[in-house]
């Protein structure tokens, strides 16, 4: 008997007017896996994230999370079920302090201020931002803001986290740190799907890589095999 995967996507279509952003995409993610999601710009990666996180209702196809059909869910339902996300362009609460930002995430599981604060402080330590806790979020650097988003998402106690380009614009050292951070998230038994263009950041840590091109899944394999895949090479470098 095979265990039910944490996330199962079957035949997902997402159409905007005449534009097919996602066409017949199927894949599954098991608990505690790291999945890299790559593809050229406009391949439909962020659209897929928006479908998984409830921001878009898929035009067709099914999404099952923990065995439950979640195709038409709202973002707040997704969060409650344990699907957290970050945004490609950071969306922090700029006027709140770093700690307050994370507390808003923690309040999903605990409405008591003191408990939410304690949970948020733990996440800030985990993410390495505790020294900035009382600074207004808008005063952080962009890379700090991206980490803040991750901390805020983790504070909702997800079982699956969708990370959208958290490594973009980072220095090589920071990329290495971000990779280690993703592994530490996985070690908390949280599955990660990472959209990323920074290959050296995700190739070493991903269990599998899924490649999208023009809305279609063109490959899914272990990182080493993906680099050799002719379809992937064509998609990136042209025929």
């Amino acid at each position: 008997m095979t265990a039910v995967p944490l996330l199962a996507v079957e035949g997902l279509h997402m159409v905007f007017g005449g534009l097919v952003a996602n066409r017949d995409i199927s894949f599954s993610v098991n608990a505690g896996e790291i999945i890299g999601l790559i593809g050229p710009n406009g391949a439909g990666k962020t659209t897929l994230f928006n479908c998984l996180a409830g921001f878009y209702t898929p035009s067709a196809g099914a999404i099952h999370f923990d065995g439950v059909s979640v195709g038409g869910q709202t973002p707040e339902q997704a969060a409650r079920r344990g699907i957290a996300r970050t945004f490609q362009i950071v969306r922090i609460f700029p006027e709140m302090t770093v700690l307050e930002n994370v507390m808003v995430g923690a309040m999903l599981r605990s409405k008591k201020i003191s408990a939410a604060r304690a949970a948020a402080e733990n996440e800030l330590v985990f993410i390495g931002l505790e020294h900035r806790r009382d600074v207004k979020a808008q005063q952080l650097t962009v890379s700090e803001q991206k980490r803040l988003e991750v901390a805020r998402a983790l504070a909702t106690h997800p079982r699956l986290i969708l990370l959208d380009e958290i490594m973009a614009g980072l220095t090589p050292t920071e990329v290495r740190e971000a990779s280690q951070m993703v592994e530490r998230i996985r070690d908390r038994d949280i599955a990660c799907i990472i959209v990323e263009h920074v290959m050296e950041g995700i190739m070493p840590i991903s269990d599998r890589i899924i490649v999208l091109d023009a809305g279609v899944k063109i490959a899914e394999a272990a990182p080493a095999a993906i680099a050799q895949d002719p379809a992937v090479i064509t998609a990136y470098l042209g025929a």
């Binding site: 997704a78 969306r91 700029p94 307050e100 507390m103 808003v104 201020i113 805020r152």
Partner: protein, 336 residues
């Protein structure tokens, strides 16, 4: 507790005691009346601020809730002899329910479009009430003055009791505002204001919390409307449902500082002072000069302190705290 926090607490207690004793020290009726107007305006600003300040949903139609409060208690008192204290509660409940009905569709609109919708709804209600015979239409409702005293909330000899009712309402509204601010709901309000999509991704239902904000705001605003009706003993659409009143309520909070606890109180002090001053200088309605001065002040505030009057104080406090920290790190005499 550091020194500044202590000073703030002491100052707060002093101001509260002075306010409580004001009608005992100052007996001149016109000054007591002025103080009542400030308290009533402050209460409205605090009520508006829950929705427009904390939750960031700017309403330009709050006269509707004020009017509902004034009309509900007045109709119930004039036609059914109900105590205005119960009428005040009834007005609050009706205004809250009405706010949920209009809020449900209007909260699907974002930013300016929500403000425009509230403006339109207020205008519609004003016209409807003006043409509604049961509530005396444009003629307005006069309240009976034959019974005076606390039970009837009518005071014909001295205005002082209205002062304490207005102060009580203001303190109640501040308490509600403070409780929201300190609870998770206050955090959710701010999250919704600052980035609605990010808030949703953290499990915050936008419509749920916006409806909480508008219902609380409408309830408190309606209570203020009842007090106005009892103080003037006459209401008509032109006094409690007029569009300029909606703008004034919003201005009190915006001028004072949106999303701050005491900002609307400061805004009320400034606005009512200008209003009454120009009224005395230029006759009954001030010939619109108060509006000209309002406009000027709003331009000045928008340019120099977009966060309102309260932001000026907050800025100084931050600067002071930063200085304190520096003093601790580099004690005098041990300079680098």
């Amino acid at each position: 507790m550091d020194r500044l926090t202590m000073i703030k607490y002491v100052l707060g207690v002093v101001i509260l005691l002075l306010t409580l004793g004001f009608p005992l020290i100052v007996t001149q009726p016109s000054l007591v009346n002025f103080a009542i107007l400030v308290l009533m305006a402050a209460q409205l600003g605090v009520a508006w601020n829950i929705l427009g300040g904390y939750a960031g949903q700017v309403s330009l139609g709050h006269a509707v809730f004020y009017g509902i409060g004034a009309y509900a208690s007045s109709v119930l008192a004039a036609k059914f002899g109900l105590s205005p204290w119960l009428g005040m509660l009834a007005g609050g409940v009706i205004a809250s329910l009405f706010s949920l009905v209009v809020g449900w569709p209007c909260f699907r609109l974002k930013g300016h479009y929500f403000a425009m919708a509230t403006l339109a709804i207020a205008a519609i209600v004003e016209i409807l009430v003006t043409n509604w015979d049961y509530v005396e239409g444009a003629i307005g409702i006069s309240l009976p003055m034959n019974t005076s005293g606390w039970a009837a909330m009518v005071f014909t000899r001295s205005k002082t009791p209205y002062f304490y009712i207005a102060l009580g309402l203001l303190l109640f509204s501040l308490a509600v505002s403070w409780i929201f601010k300190r609870s998770y709901i206050g955090y959710y309000f701010r999250a919704i204001k600052e980035d609605p999509d990010a808030a949703r991704s953290l499990g915050v239902s936008l419509s749920h919390y916006k409806l909480i904000a508008i219902a609380a705001s409408a309830f408190l605003t309606a209570m203020g409307g009842t007090l106005y009706a009892q103080k003037e003993l006459f209401i008509d659409p032109g006094s409690v449902l007029v569009g300029s009143l909606s703008i004034k309520i919003a201005l009190i909070a915006i001028l004072g500082g949106v999303g701050t606890l005491f900002g609307p109180v400061m805004g009320a002090v400034v606005l009512i002072t200008i209003e009454e001053f120009t009224r005395q200088m230029f006759g009954s309605t001030g010939m619109g000069t108060d509006m000209i001065i309002y406009g000027g002040i709003i331009v000045v505030i928008a340019v120099f302190s977009p966060g309102g009057i309260a932001a000026l104080f907050a800025e100084r406090e931050r600067a002071w705290r930063a200085r304190q920290r520096r003093v601790v790190f580099n004690p005098p005499g041990e300079g680098i």
